[in-house]
Amino acid sequence: MEPTKTIQETEADIIENFSMFDQWLDKYEYLIDLGKNLEAYPEDRKSEEYLIKGCQSRVWLATDFKDGRLWFKADSDAIITKGIISLLISVYNGRTPAEILGSDFSFVEKIGLRENLSPTRANGLVSMIETIRRRAAENA
């Protein structure tokens, strides 16, 4: 289903949601919940081809380009990463390449999850964002 809100509006909703948590514990419990409820990832695409390898968490990302829009399915072996993946998918699923390339992915930092995005090889999530941008650029 095509999104009804813009990327910026969806991001603003997430930032508002997160602003209600004043304890890290609540924030992480919410993320863990999101992670546990992430739409199942297709087993046949859980292969090396779709794997974004990190020293810490591994992320699988499958992209489909249909009717000028990008659709993402993703999974991770780490549950907090899965929670953040769920947020990323809610923001970027069904967007046009131009919309994706025009956004700055800064909402992850704005909701106080900067440490989950440390720019090291250790992090599958950073590579996931890079891959989403690359997929968008390839289809732009």
Binding site: Y28, C55, Q56, R58, A78, T81
Partner: protein
Amino acid sequence: MNVQDIRQHFPVLSEVLPGRGALVYLDNAATSQRPKEVLDKYLWLSNKVNANIHRAVHYLAAEATAQYEGARESVREFINAGSTKEIIFTSGTTASINTVAYSFGEAFIGRGDKIIVSQAEHHSNIVPWQMLAQRKGAEIQVLPVDDNGHLRVDLLPGMLDSRTKLVAVTHISNVLGLVNPVKEIIELAHEKGVPVLVDGAQGIVHEVVDVQALDCDFYVFSGHKMYAAPFTGVLYGKQPLLEKMPPFFGGGEMIASVSFENGTTYAPLPGKFEAGTQNLAGTPTLTDAINVCKQFRDKEIVANQQKITDYVLDQLMSDDRISLYGVPRGNIAKIPLFSFSVKGAHHEDLALILDKMGIAVRSGQMCAEPIMDRFGVTGMLRASFAPYNTMEEAEYFIKSLDRAIKMLV
């Protein structure tokens, strides 16, 4: 002396972290914290005594040289080397191993030769040998570990033959935390005339190292894990071997004479292996760090460490949710370093949640992918303690770990 006395000397230990509370630093195997004495020495050398060493005749150069060479004597005495010619300063364990891999390799390794490394090595004691093997057409042989993480020393005699040119083995694995029987390994290798390099990155921190008693051919370690400034390190090598090895880097202090016509000759040991400007403010802090290491041998401090080791070991071993890697047995002791995985909880998730509770632990492959593969995991969680950690911190860690697991599973 008690732990609280020690903690006064380490400024960072009283930090309160934003949004997390008091710091509980359990990532000491990655890098230790530094005491005021080391930080003061570093600043004093930078602010008051900055000059390049050895060559100039002015006051500052003489003082800087005295500090630098003083550290060499401190290290010699600390590991009981026969001579300061055998103490080469490097930027750390990795640089020390790379130096040996290049220089020993140039002198002694040829096509078809073999180098034995253990399965429990840090990448820094694997990759330089692989690079050497590739360069020379040599072969790497792997000494495996058993299910409890113990080196299969029983297999070593069968692996050693006339083509074996070196054994490179860690004193204490940064993942398993077991004190390997390096003396026995060295004896077995020497029976076949094979020299041994011991990676002492963790060993120097937790063991009393006597290189002459061990009879190791090389012993290498970093300063930053033993409370000294980062980018400092030591390569100990037996003098006759070092004499036969060509230099690794060229330039700066490592020459005797340079000529386009008559060729270049090299400086005597240890200068031959210390090319370029050295870590002028960092290396002298080894003297102060060594003093700290010696203070940590205090009876009360050692007893506290043992209490923490026994407590954490018991807690982790008796928890069905946890698999601990590196289980002590018989005369193989364990240092307070615990790598483990939790059924149904990812190491990264656990580390993130523990961080929120102020606890710094390591998660991931810990630069030791082969041992991760050995135990069939993509990573582990590691808590590593130092003498400045308290029993209260150990209890808080165990309680917090339980809480984190309950959030995730």
